[in-house]
């Protein structure tokens, strides 16, 4: 039994392997977050020393970014569903898919070993000269761990692009691809063209630390701004790797529970690709106050405005889909609606932070922390939970308990807002980020935020409980519990080894099935 799992070629088994690994890393990152929130209850130090606190927020950053947010939707749902959605029996390079999981686990093990041995205290951004010449922590080890896990991202990207191009079933034209597949195509492009720069930068950081070379150290002739250019050239597209799959999931959720095709299909497709491509031109908005030349800041600020337009188009298209739809409010739809609301606030604050005059005050403060948590936790993780509930019946053949799931979604939504909305105010008041102790007048906001964090933790742990229980005791779910379009709902759940009993012939788009008579469950 073990061998069939550890040496499997089946994209569904590999997806389950990824789910296991990702959930462990999410637990570790979440634990670090709760410890930090508890420490921030009081303005002065009470739970952990400042050195431990620095290692905690770095651990939280590294684990959440590289070992949960980037792999969560693409590597688990993408691996599981893309072959099903395009009518293929598997991804085009199944061996490469398995290698990508092993590389991911190996990178994770190295990073976890570094964090276990003593952790890193440079922040997930590894800014020199602190990370290269002043930090006495396992920077090179953690950096190489992340570097190795970067390869798994590249391999997944290659696999998805090639599979979407060449493994589509008969009749599955580009216009009939589900939006989930389109967003993963855009994400894979970003994964492929951005992750190598992360590998290059981490190699530079390691060589600079080990051989005391001076690429980024001014005393030896280098320039720390050069590191920031290279790092953010990867890291901004990386945040689009995290959010684009989330958008794909929400498009599917909204289409499924409104029982109508997504409004403006081609506009949503082109905005996904636009986000992926324009996302590469805007990285300078992370460096407005860091000594970058003002003219470059002007260019980056303007382009950051341009990149926000496709996201706005997508949100309006989701809203237009709700118009005159037949909306039902199962748990995935609650997560989807939550995503649309919170992603709007996150996106708007993103536009604010891209405005130069505003960013000078709020850069590196809790305002930025709140902004990207609204997009990452309010957006990507909300979509991840929605996807988990939407495709749980398909992947396990069992239904989850509906009312408990709805309760969990509401708790998550409330807990999230209570946690992160006060941080907007903290940022405006001038509380810098990564602060172990803070001025006493901010204490009440931090206390509300910590209260919210408790709610958030409940919102995450509760589904873990009832989903795993439903794995064994949930009542049987048929082929298509939600009467959704899309090829994955036409095969049995869980799908057989080669996905489809008879060869698949596609006649209409994924959402056009709605227009015709309902499909027998």
């Amino acid at each position: 039994m073990i061998k069939s799992w550890l040496l499997t070629r089946d994209h569904k088994k590999i997806a389950w392997l990824y789910l296991g690994t990702i959930t462990c890393f999410f637990a570790i990152g979440g634990l670090a977050a709760t410890l930090m929130r508890l420490e921030l209850l009081t303005p002065t130090e009470w739970l952990v020393t400042s050195d431990t606190y620095n290692r905690l927020f770095t651990l939280h950053g590294i684990i959440m970014v590289w070992f949960f947010l980037i792999p969560s939707i693409p590597n688990f749902f993408g691996n599981y569903l893309i072959p099903l959605m395009i009518g293929a029996d598997d991804v085009l390079f199944p061996r490469l898919n398995l290698i990508s999981w092993y590389v991911f686990v190996f990178g994770g093990a190295v990073t976890f070993y570094a964090l276990l041995r003593g952790g890193v205290d440079t922040g997930w951004t590894f800014y020199p000269p602190y990370s290269t010449h002043f930090s006495r922590s396992f920077v090179a080890l953690a950096a190489s761990g992340v570097l190795i896990s970067g390869f798994s991202s590249i391999f997944t990207g290659i696999n998805f692009i090639v599979t979407i191009h060449y493994k589509r079933a008969e009749g599955m034209t580009w216009g009939r691809l589900p939006l989930f597949v389109w967003t993963h195509y855009a994400t894979s492009l970003v994964m492929l063209l951005a992750t190598p720069i992360l590998a290059a930068v981490l190699v530079m950081i390691c060589t600079e630390r080990i051989f005391n070379i001076g690429f980024f150290d001014t005393t030896l002739g280098g320039d720390p701004i050069l590191f920031q250019h290279l790092f953010w050239f990867y890291s901004h597209p990386a945040v689009y790797i995290m959010i684009l799959p989330g958008m794909g999931v929400v498009s599917e959720i909204v289409a499924t529970f409104c029982r109508k095709p997504i409004f403006g299909y081609w506009f949503v497709v082109w905005s996904s690709l636009a986000i992926a491509l324009v996302g590469f031109l805007v990285w300078g908005h992370h460096m407005f106050v860091s000594g970058q030349s003002p003219y470059a800041s002007l260019i980056f600020s303007f382009l950051s405005m341009a990149v926000a337009v496709p996201s706005a188009i997508k949100v309006f298209n989701w809203l237009a889909t709700l118009y005159k739809g037949a909306i039902s409010f199962e748990a995935p739809m609650l997560y989807g609606l939550g995503f649309i609301g919170l992603f709007t606030i996150g996106g708007l604050t993103g536009v604010f932070v891209a405005a130069l005059g505003f960013d000078v005050h709020v850069h590196d403060t809790y305002f930025v922390v709140a902004h990207f948590h609204y997009i990452m936790v309010g957006g990507a993780v909300m979509a991840y939970m929605g996807a988990l509930h939407l495709w749980w019946p398909k992947m396990t053949g069992r239904m989850y308990p509906e009312n408990q799931a709805r309760l969990a979604a509401v708790v998550l939504f409330l807990g999230f807002n209570v946690t992160f909305f006060p941080q907007f105010i903290l940022g405006i008041l001038g509380n810098p980020r990564r602060y172990h102790t803070y001025p006493p007048e901010f204490a009440w906001l931090h206390q509300i935020s910590t209260l919210g964090a408790v709610l958030l933790a409940v919102g995450y742990i509760y589904p873990l409980y009832y989903l795993s229980r439903s794995f064994f005791k949930g009542e049987k779910a048929g082929k298509n519990p939600w009467q959704a379009g899309g090829l994955e709902w036409t095969t049995s759940s869980p799908p057989p080894e080669k996905n489809f009993e008879e060869p698949v012939e596609v006649v209409a788009g994924p959402y056009a099935l709605h227009a015709r008579k309902g499909i027998s469950p």
């Binding site: 063209l193 050069l226 250019h229 050239f233 590469f280 300078g284 030349s293 470059a296 980056f300």
Partner: protein
């Protein structure tokens, strides 16, 4: 299919270009030296790409990938130098 004759020709052309690059390097062209250097290496790269890697007759999407992967570093270089030149 690429004929072996054109393979030999490409190899010879690459060697010639190599000699040319080294010869040009002995002449002090100042800032232009870099430009000449890169164009000649670019020509060699084009030759190897087209003939050895058979991009010439390729009907698939490989050509699209090549163009994209040369475009991306230009974006990185362009915006980083936009900062350095106007600092």
């Amino acid at each position: 299919m690429i004929s072996s004759r054109s393979l030999h020709l490409t190899f010879a052309a690459c060697l010639l270009l190599l000699l040319l690059t080294t010869a040009v390097a002995f002449v002090d062209l100042g800032a232009w030296g870099l430009v000449v250097n890169l164009t000649i290496s670019g020509m060699k790269a084009l030759l190897i790409g087209m003939i050895f890697m058979e991009l010439k007759g390729d009907k698939g999407l490989s050509f699209f990938v090549v163009v994209l992967s040369f475009l991306w570093p230009l974006v990185l270089f362009g915006f980083t130098f936009a900062d350095y030149l106007s600092r």
